[in-house]
């Protein structure tokens, strides 16, 4: 994972580094991958939280149907559920975009997936700083 260029020394200053090498050696890409992964998890949790209301109403509707052994007069969905669905989709899209961005960045900089890159990076960075 070493690209032969270190931003903290001028041992090999004559070698002009590429953007990929700078991102890898300066730890910027590792931070970006971690941030994008965190944001994708955050979006996924927000999407789950947004669907909690309709999910609760569906559960309540089913419980009422079982209790009265008939179809309840009021349905489980309200018109505002379309907006909730849209919000959920927005969060899912945002999470998906963050995940794909992290994957593409990891593939470009380290030539591996985001989680594998970060675990490999942690081992190498830890060894260099002990």
């Amino acid at each position: 994972m070493s690209f032969g260029w270190n931003p903290t020394t001028c041992d090999n200053a004559h070698v002009k580094p590429t953007l990929r090498e700078i991102l890898a050696e300066s730890h910027i890409s590792a931070v970006t991958i971690a941030v994008l992964l965190l944001w994708s998890f955050d979006s996924a949790f927000r999407a789950i939280a947004a669907t909690w209301g309709p999910f609760f109403r569906v559960a309540e509707y089913l419980a009422t149907a079982v209790a009265i052994r008939d179809i309840p007069s009021l349905g489980p969905f309200i018109p505002e559920d379309r907006i909730i669905l849209f919000v959920t989709f927005s969060y899912l899209f945002s999470g998906f975009v963050s995940l794909v961005s992290a994957w593409l960045l990891a593939r470009w900089v380290y030539g591996d997936g985001p989680l594998r890159s970060l675990s490999r990076y942690r081992r190498i960075a830890g060894r260099n700083h002990v």
């Binding site: 260029w5 001028c10 300066s26 910027i28 975009v97 963050s98 961005s101």
Partner: protein
Amino acid sequence: MFDRFKHAVVESFVGAVALGFILGDVILEFVEVFASPVSSWVSRTQYRALTPHTATVPGFSLRDALPHAVRFFLLLLVWFVLLRWLYFKPLKKETSESVPNSELVGRLQE
């Protein structure tokens, strides 16, 4: 003074963390430039379904992408300027590091 500040920012990884966050934001803003017109159009359509049909709601508009495009370019500019300043040229080694350890030990023993 700027060299000392640059040295501190690079050595303490504050620069790497800040630039990492900004790069993540730049990537998401780039996606938002394309996603926001569609998102705004869908939300307006949803709003129209909930309000009386007399209200006039504008349709699909590329103007919704403008704030995100401006933010994207500004963030990218800031990110690139900072990256160029902090990491394109390697830091000079401090003079105290260039003194051999044996010489330092000798001086201390005197």
